[in-house]
């Protein structure tokens, strides 16, 4: 039996290297994905919002206010000279946050009876940076108000980055790409190999030999593990060489990748079991993987997404694979990782058993 499994794997290995398109999906596709998203999201990389400031007052008081903004550590200040036509400036430069400090700013402090000074913040609401800019400006203004009112800060907020030591988007993204690859590689492989072998008669020929479908499926799943780990190696290499990522391929991560591959191989088996036509089956595989790709928090942190989207993510297997990998590889939160991994394990077992029981070679 072991011999038959090995022979079957050997056959797939040779076919793999002789068929250019499979190499693209295994190697080039994940690399392109990382390079693309890495470039998009870690380009500026400072994590600060840009606030364009036109200081019409230009007094020590207004300058002190600007310094306070800078001291938050969350903004880049771009100075706009006093004489600039601000509307024209906005048109020309498309900033998402423009702060105008009025000319009467320095006189704003003396006692009651006077009308309050109004800072003017013009923002582009379609840009996520605009609300952050508002929070920062409003926060600093409150501090000033408190100070003038002679108050004291009773509640303070100490803030630090959740990812502790400066993880970048790429660190967040790479476990996701690994999860994604373990899904797409295996599901599409199973669907295409099973529908193709059924249509072109290879299954028929195999059934005339003593190999059983369990042996054959074992061979395919083992072979897919090899392919997935090849992808993982390439992904890690690019992450390290190009993006200086901070990930460790923990034993738990390896386990999760194995379980995920088995899970999605089985899903492919089930699709191929019910849809015999190669084209239709691969369309079905797309219809399943595509939403999962975007709803499972692979590309973006789900915390920023609406609640209902987060609820959907929690029924998608890929979400747990991504979370497990991220927790163990990036955040070193092994408890959460194990919890996620257990979900993956249960799903893998369920799908695997269903896949093996349902699959059949003969079309009687």
């Amino acid at each position: 039996m072991a011999n038959r499994v090995l022979v079957a794997i050997k056959g797939e290995v040779k076919t793999f290297w002789r068929n250019k398109s499979t190499i693209f999906w295994t190697v080039a596709f994940p690399v392109l994905l990382i390079l693309l998203f890495g470039a998009i999201f870690s380009g500026g990389g400072t994590g600060r919002v840009d606030i364009h400031v036109q200081d019409l007052s230009d007094t020590p008081a207004s300058q002190a206010f600007i310094v306070s903004l800078v001291d938050t550590g969350s903004v880049n200040i771009i100075n706009v000279s006093k004489g600039t036509d601000i509307d024209q400036y906005i048109k020309d430069n498309s900033p998402y946050a423009v702060l105008i400090i009025p000319a009467n700013f320095s006189e704003a402090f003396p006692g009651p009876g006077q009308s309050p000074t109004q800072l003017q913040l013009r923002t582009d609401p379609t840009n996520s940076g605009s609300s952050i800019a508002y929070s920062i400006v409003a926060g600093v203004a409150s501090q000033y108000n408190l100070y003038f009112a002679g108050g004291t800060n009773w509640i303070t907020v100490g803030m630090s980055d959740i990812t502790q030591t400066g993880f970048s988007y790429i660190d967040f993204f790479i476990p996701g790409v690994i999860a994604l690859t373990s899904m797409t590689t295996t599901i599409f492989w199973m669907v295409s190999v099973m529908t193709r072998y059924r249509t072109n008669g290879i299954f028929k020929k195999l059934t005339t030999t003593p190999i059983t479908r369990y042996e054959w499926l074992t061979a395919q799943i083992l072979w897919q593990l090899v392919v997935v780990f090849m992808s993982v190696a390439v992904i890690m290499l690019v992450g390290i060489l190009v993006f200086d990522m901070h990930l460790t391929l923990t034993p738990l991560a390896i386990l999760v990748i194995i379980m995920s591959s088995a899970l999605f191989s089985s899903m492919g088996m089930i699709i191929a079991r019910f849809i015999h036509d190669e084209e239709t089956a691969s369309t079905a595989a797309n219809a399943i993987t595509f939403p999962m790709m975007f709803l499972s928090g692979i590309f973006f942190n789900l915390a920023f997404m609406p609640e209902w989207l987060q609820a959907i993510a929690k029924v998608l297997p890929l979400y747990y694979v991504g979370e497990a990998l991220r927790n163990t590889m990036v955040y070193d939160n092994q408890v959460a990782a194990v919890n996620n991994a257990l979900v993956v394990l249960v799903l893998a077992v369920v799908f695997f058993v269903a896949g093996v029981l349902l699959s059949k070679w003969k079309d009687e």
Partner: protein
């Protein structure tokens, strides 16, 4: 002594209420080439695939090498070789790699190079399967069917869709198998093929045997006897022939006379001579399985005809056989 290697008793295979195989029985002896001859949808593939343990039977009994197909599936598979209808192998593996792949599925297998030689594919040994022509692919299929050194080889339509040359090459491979004493079960649409290759033939339609026996016996039993055709007969000839043989048929200018016995032919020629009329030529035809089939079913086996293997160039470079025209 003849050893029975295949026994089929009252085999029935139903798909829903439709009987694809409807109660057939036969036996095959060791070393025989047995053909199932029938048109599309006759039930040939269904019958052989039940013997190959690929489909389950509805009722009846099938024993291969003494083993029940319902019970000893794996054992049977180890001892038979199969070329399925519409055979295909791995596109991106070479001829040799494909043979080795399937060889690896069995507990014992023959060296790939020996098999490649046996089907005369030496030149194509390291060529991807994908790049072979249909005829060569079928030969690879035959080689793979021999890979476990089986006692019985099933070839399901090994020559369908091949050109005449490729078809004859496959025939030569089958004759070689027979020479080696292998038992071969063949299915075909081509009566020529069945006649040339097989010891016995079962003519099958609608899942039933219409005739079963050696090609010669079947023709004797169901054939119409030999016929004499006199082409482009003028009226004088026709008149005298009609006096002697009232039952003759006239097809255009041709006249067809059934030959009842050996003495008929000289009599016809004598009559023609005496009539003083003109005719173009005299031709004697022997009935073929095709004619038998046509008579039994009212159907043609297939549209195009397999070419008669008159000039056979041996695939192995040593066989040269002339087949006389009857």
């Amino acid at each position: 002594m003849a050893v029975t290697v295949i026994e089929v008793r009252n085999l029935v295979k139903k798909y829903g209420s439709f009987a694809a195989v409807d109660g057939i029985s036969f036996e095959v002896m060791k070393g025989e080439v047995f053909s199932l001859l029938g048109p599309n949808g006759a039930g040939k593939t269904t019958t052989v695939e039940i013997m190959e343990c690929l489909r389950t039977l509805t009722s009846g009994e099938v024993r291969i090498l003494g083993m029940d197909v319902n019970k000893e599936t794996l054992k049977i598979k180890g001892r038979i070789g199969v070329l399925p209808q519409d055979f295909n192998a791995f596109d991106f593996l070479t001829v040799k790699e494909n043979i080795e792949y399937f060889g690896g599925m069995f507990n014992k297998s023959l060296p790939a190079d020996d098999l490649i030689r046996a089907v005369d594919l030496g030149e194509k040994r390291d060529v991807w399967f994908k790049k072979l022509s249909g005829g060569l692919k079928q030969r690879v299929g035959v080689a793979i069917s021999m890979v476990n050194d089986p006692d019985i080889i099933f070839l399901d339509e090994p020559t369908t869709g091949l050109d005449p040359k490729a078809r004859r090459d496959v025939w030569a491979v089958i004759q070689e198998l027979k020479a080696k004493g292998k038992t071969v079960i063949l299915t075909t649409h081509y009566m020529e093929e069945a006649e040339v290759l097989s010891d016995r033939v079962g003519i099958i339609d609608h899942g039933r045997f219409l005739a079963l026996g050696t090609p010669h016996d079947i023709i004797e039993q169901f054939g119409t006897g030999s016929r004499c055709i006199i082409s482009n007969c003028d009226d004088a000839c026709a008149q005298s022939l009609k006096q002697q043989w009232p039952g003759i048929e006239r097809k255009g200018g041709d006249i067809v006379i059934k030959l009842e016995n050996k003495g008929s032919l000289p009599e016809i020629i004598y009559t023609l001579d005496r009539s003083g009329g003109n005719y173009e030529q005299i031709q004697v035809t022997r009935p073929t399985l095709e004619d038998v089939f046509l008579r039994l079913t009212g159907k043609k086996l297939h549209e195009e005809e397999a070419p008669p293997p008159t000039e056979k160039k041996g695939l192995f470079g040593r066989k040269k056989k002339e087949k006389g025209v009857a």
